[in-house]
């Protein structure tokens, strides 16, 4: 019975992926992409990777979906995808098929038992004071990857900001063109954020011992902020504000400070003294959720395009 469900789910993912590629209009393709992401999150749940499923749903589908939707709306009409030449498309198709074939080979002909670092992680888990092995890998065993990931996120934002015209440098982006106030949207933007902020913080907090973490929680906080801006209840922030910039680097700075302190306290970069590891990890994550929520929102909002607030 579960076999039939998994088979149907896999088939549905493939069909929606194909539909997304074949869609002629950018808007339709984005809608297909979002549906595809939700289905993919279900696949991750079926593979017992709930952390990945939540990230896929929040970042891969939610935030990226809004980002693509804005991009699709800004591209000039008619939003018909420009057709590349037959050769380019054939080469792209062959390359994609090769990637798929390589992945299939790796999965189908994996050594038995497949190479796994799961036992060492499970063995070392108590030293971190965490209960969720995924968070332990992200924040302790492979902390340098996570640290660099946050730096990349900031670099992406700098890349987006650098597209702003000179007159608007340090100004505010326009997430949504202000129109006549929609009372239904305003109602949603007033009622939902208290719930969303609670859920976002809960997911961050529970990430220490259960699926969740700063990335998923931060994405929910970002969504709440976007909602209030879209409803016209809050203005987009000035990119030049010192407070905003301090909050943007809060995550990486805290991470780096704790990492450097590790030389003194635990003998290595990004090593935590065992007695304080959980406190330190939660402190880093608390700073990171601020950075993540801000960065994701500002990435979606795009480059500043006006010098003044409304």
């Amino acid at each position: 019975m579960t076999m039939a469900f998994d088979f149907g789910l896999g088939l549905l993912v493939l069909v929606v992926a194909g539909w997304t590629i074949a869609a002629q209009k950018a808007f339709a393709a984005v809608v297909g992409f979002v549906a595809y992401g939700i289905l993919l999150a279900l696949v991750w749940v079926r593979l017992s990777a709930v952390d990945v499923a939540m990230t896929e749903a929040a970042i891969g589908t939610g935030v990226t979906g809004v980002l693509l939707l804005r991009a699709a709306m800004r591209t000039p009409t008619p939003q018909v995808v420009e057709q590349s030449s037959q050769t380019v498309r054939a080469v792209a198709a062959v390359l994609c098929l090769l990637v798929t074939a390589a992945l299939a080979t790796v999965v189908l002909y994996a050594t038995d038992p497949a190479p796994s670092l799961a036992p060492p992680v499970a063995q070392a888990l108590p030293a971190t004071g965490l209960g969720n092995p995924v968070t332990a890998v992200l924040m302790a065993f492979r902390a340098v990857d996570t640290f660099l990931e946050k730096v990349v996120l900031l670099l992406a934002l700098i890349g987006v900001w650098s597209l702003s015209p000179d007159r608007a440098w340090g100004g505010a982006p326009t997430l949504w063109e202000p129109g006549p106030r929609d009372e239904v949207l305003v109602f949603l933007a007033r009622v939902l954020p208290p719930v969303g902020i609670l859920v976002g913080l809960y997911i961050f907090w529970t990430g220490a011992d259960h699926p969740g973490g700063a990335f998923q929680g931060g994405a929910i906080l970002a969504a709440m902020w976007m909602l209030t801006m879209m409803a016209g209840l809050a203005d987009e922030p000035l990119a030049g504000r010192a407070l905003l910039r301090a909050a943007l680097i809060a995550g990486p700075t805290t991470f780096l400070t704790v990492g450097l302190a590790g030389f003194v306290t635990a003998g290595a970069f990004l090593a935590y003294p065992e007695a304080y590891s959980k406190v330190l990890i939660i402190a880093i994550e608390a700073a990171m959720i601020v950075t993540i929520a801000l960065t994701l929102t500002l990435l979606v909002a795009g480059p500043p395009d006006r010098g003044e607030l409304r």
């Binding site: 929609d182 239904v184 949207l185 109602f187 949603l188 009622v191 939902l192 719930v195």
Partner: protein
Amino acid sequence: MSIMADVFTILMVIAGAVFFLAGTVGLLRFPDTLTRLHALTKADNLGLGLVVLGLLPWMDGPLGALKLLSIWLLVQFAGATTAQLIARLATRGRITS
């Protein structure tokens, strides 16, 4: 007791699935945006509500049941709002069906 819970769950979840099926058929078959929205929101509200109701006996305690119920309420809230927004756009003629 366990059998009773099983039967209850099966009946409720099947009833919920019927609503989702009907909603999907409505989405595919109804002629314009407003009627299609009508079909979809019914599926969201009643279909999900029945599935949640059917799963309630299996939750660990009142807290788990409360979480499940809040998911239903949140989905209803988001669904109703989105339906309103789309319906407004449709009546202003910004969406063509």
